[in-house]
């Protein structure tokens, strides 16, 4: 049993933390998050230079990390800094490239010279109906993909897109060049900062990366670990800011934290966040076990993060009062990110349902 991050990982996390502190002050963060790309290219280049992206992948793929705890450590720093950028697409798409043995291509991603994203969720049409899965058809040695994917992270900036699609033999993942023919991208900003886009493929040329659903499931599972670690880091920022506010803001002549109702509610928030942190640790610790165990703890963690995330965001705003709702306060943006993270890779309810399914299968 060991709850330390480990020296190497701690060192990288610390330098990442310093890098964000030095280059991504609040104004810079806001400018980047509201920019058309939704993130700062300079920051991304800096991260690549710092070697941060390499921590997300194993040595054979040109990285020097690749464990679930490595991903967790990086995403915790992303959360703490409220950094926007194609982190998740890099992690998930990169994980598939890694599984496919595409070390060269992944090398370009790690070096920051190519932006990668992961198109997995199906699009929903304007009536709220989930569109049919993207279909993959083989033409000679090449593959053609057709269909739509929804809310693809940083699609507008991507050079490479890892797309999950259904072929005759089942699900597989493919590589699509963003500027290939038959690739249509509609980019838009997100309510919590950053950007995403709708992807429409009409016979777009693609390269098969990995057949079968296992690699996709594993990438999604890693994504759960990463988002949960990010969410917990955001919670901790909100918690600390709220505790600070409760201790300094005065009403009726005393700090508002002296009002027992607020104080006791804040203890619940803090307690729940500790539970969410434990859930995040569990998800990372069981990631390398068998898929059923991995997914069980992944869903438990995402469920916990969703539930605690909403509580934390809502209580942080409520306890700040009006000021907690203002755009000027970083707090409100942390709260938005936290609530929106619930919707990334399946929300609280979806993961409760999956947890129940996994439990009844066990």
């Amino acid at each position: 049993m060991d709850f330390s991050l480990g020296d190497d990982r701690r060192m990288m996390a610390d330098s990442l933390s310093r890098y964000f502190a030095d280059t991504l002050g609040w104004e810079a963060r806001q400018a980047a998050a509201e920019s058309e790309a939704g993130f700062s290219r300079d920051m991304w280049a800096g991260l690549a230079e710092l070697g941060v992206l390499g921590l997300l992948f194993g040595e054979e793929a040109g990285g020097y990390g690749g464990s679930a705890f490595d991903a967790g450590a990086v995403f915790a720093e992303v959360g703490k800094a409220l950094a926007t950028g194609p982190f998740l697409g890099t992690l998930l798409g990169g994980n598939i490239l890694e599984a496919a043995g595409e070390a060269d291509l992944l090398g370009e991603v790690i070096a920051g010279s190519k932006i990668l994203t992961f198109a997995d969720d199906p699009a929903m049409d304007s009536n709220g109906v989930v569109t049919d899965p993207v279909k993959a058809v083989k033409e000679g040695e090449a593959w053609r993909l057709s269909g739509a994917k929804g809310v693809v992270d940083y699609l507008g900036s991507a050079d490479l897109i890892v797309v999950t699609a259904e072929a005759d033999a089942g699900w597989a993942s493919f590589l699509v060049e963003a500027d290939a023919e038959g690739v249509e991208r509609r980019a838009y900003p997100l309510v919590d900062g950053g950007a995403a886009g709708e992807l429409t493929l009409e016979g777009a040329s693609a390269r098969l990366l990995v057949s079968g659903e296992d690699a996709i499931s594993k990438a999604r599972a890693l994504g759960l670990v990463a988002t949960v670690w990010e969410a917990v880091a955001v919670m901790e920022v909100l918690r600390d800011a709220t505790i600070e506010y409760l201790g300094t803001r005065k009403q009726f002549g005393v700090p508002i934290g002296a009002f027992q109702a607020l104080k006791h509610r804040m203890t619940s928030v803090a307690l729940e966040i500790e539970q969410a942190r434990s859930a995040a640790i569990n998800a990372a610790a069981y990631f390398a076990k068998d898929p059923a165990t991995r997914d069980r703890y992944g869903s438990a963690a995402k469920y916990t993060a969703g539930k605690v995330g909403a509580l934390t965001a809502e209580e942080a705003i409520q306890m700040h009062g009006g000021i907690g709702m203002s755009w000027e306060m970083p707090l409100s943006h942390f709260a938005k990110r936290l609530v929106m993270l619930d919707h990334v890779l399946g929300d609280e309810d979806a993961h409760m349902a999956r947890y129940l399914k996994l439990a009844s299968a066990a």
Binding site: D125, L190, G321, G324, M340
Partner: protein, 398 residues
């Protein structure tokens, strides 16, 4: 005991429905239903329509342009207009200042100001909150010093809703530092065109411009704009806070929002079936629906006791708390229903007349903004914590 409305009330409901059917512009109800932003002109248009019918300020005495509706009729009116997706009446003139003037104003003040509220000549906003005084309203610092025929105001108000649309502001100001902090406050009417008044927008977390700071630098206000006695403004403020809080639960608004949610849950399909068939989502919806049905009856019970001459204090606060909780839960469910499509932010889709291609489900565009914006419901207008203090005091004197 029965929950049915009387025949007279049912006839009244029909009358309201017919009116809405005929007079509520579809352009406006579409905007409201879809959660799009209303412009100042939209709100003025609806006020004018209501005023033409004599229904803009139903709770005012008939002599000042109100109605003689019973509390139940007012409930029916509130519910029906909300269910028809009519714009909400801007409350600052009609529901806040109006009653204060009627209670505390001089005959001249009433004659001058009340008609101007109804005909739209004046758009009022409310100068209560200050940066240092949130729930502790009485600790406000904005000062008004009497100099001859004028007060001179200096200070700052904040969270002033729709100040950018208003030409007038009613303010609580400090006219004395003697005695208890509640005893040196006065209630003043201020023309926002007066030199020294400055409105600075506050952007809220959803990106919308709804509230403002209002700054006063040596702003001269004629003494005849004092409402009630000098240093007795707290009486006006308290009256305003306790007045007409019987429809505070927003049952109509919640019912309308819930109908919209049901519609969405029926049409949105996920994993091959309608969202409403998802057992966890359906249970969440049912919990809210039951709570709302219960609250509707709780509200009617409070109205019944008001009709019998009682003044509800704890009950109003309960309605406020549960009403805001329910509305917040409904918007949270809308965001869940949208799933990942809550996240795309298309500012243009929030404006009326948007006819571009939506991203994902057409209804999803405003749901995240509404969810975040609705956090205000439990903060502004007396936070839910303040309401709990009122209940506690009324229940056990503590």
């Amino acid at each position: 005991m029965d929950l049915d409305f009387t025949e007279k009330d049912e006839a009244f409901r029909e009358e309201v429905r017919e009116f809405l059917n005929e007079k509520l512009p579809k352009r406006l109800s579409d905007k409201v239903r879809q959660g799009q932003r209303l412009t100042k002109a939209d709100m003025e248009e609806w006020h004018a329509i209501l005023n033409e019918r004599g229904w803009l300020a139903p709770h005012w005495p008939v002599e000042w342009g109100g109605t003689d509706w019973s509390v139940v009729q007012r409930f029916i009116f509130e519910t029906e207009t909300a269910m028809a997706h009519a714009p909400r009446v801007v409350p600052f003139g009609v529901s806040m200042l109006g009653p204060v003037l009627i209670k505390f104003g001089t005959e001249e003040q009433k004659k001058h100001w009340l008609p101007r509220i109804l005909d739209g000549s004046d758009w009022w906003c409310q100068g209560y909150s200050e940066p240092g005084a949130g729930s502790d309203l009485a600790s406000l610092k904005t000062s008004a010093v009497r100099e001859g025929d004028h007060y001179v105001i200096n200070g700052q108000k904040t969270w002033t809703t729709l100040a950018q649309c208003a030409n007038k502001i009613f303010c609580l100001v400090r006219t004395s530092k003697e005695g208890k902090k509640q005893e040196g406050i006065s209630f003043l009417l201020v023309d926002m065109d007066t030199p020294g008044v400055e409105v600075r927008p506050i952007k809220l977390l959803d990106g919308d411009h709804e509230v403002n700071e209002v700054w006063f630098s040596d702003v001269k206000v004629p003494v005849e704009n004092l409402v009630g006695e000098e240093n007795k403004g707290w009486t006006c403020a308290k009256y305003l806070l306790s007045y007409e809080r019987t429809n505070i639960a927003g049952v109509g608004a919640s019912m309308a929002a819930f109908e919209r949610l049901k519609e969405v849950a029926r049409t949105t399909r996920r994993n091959g079936s309608a969202l409403i068939e998802d057992s966890l989502f359906a249970a969440r919806m049912a919990e809210v629906e039951i709570d709302l049905e219960n609250m509707r009856t709780t509200n009617l019970r409070v109205l019944d006791s008001v009709g019998r001459g009682q003044t509800p204090m704890a009950e109003s606060s309960m309605l406020k708390i549960r009403g805001t909780e329910i509305r917040q839960k409904i918007t949270a469910l809308m965001r869940r229903a949208a799933g990942r499509y809550a996240q795309p932010f298309l500012d243009e889709a929030l404006e009326g007349g948007f006819n571009g291609e939506p991203v994902g489900p057409g209804w999803a565009a405003p749901v995240a903004s509404q969810y975040f914006n609705n956090r205000k419901l439990s903060i502004f207008g007396g936070s839910n914590e303040v309401q709990r203090e009122i209940i506690g005091k009324s229940m056990m004197g503590l």
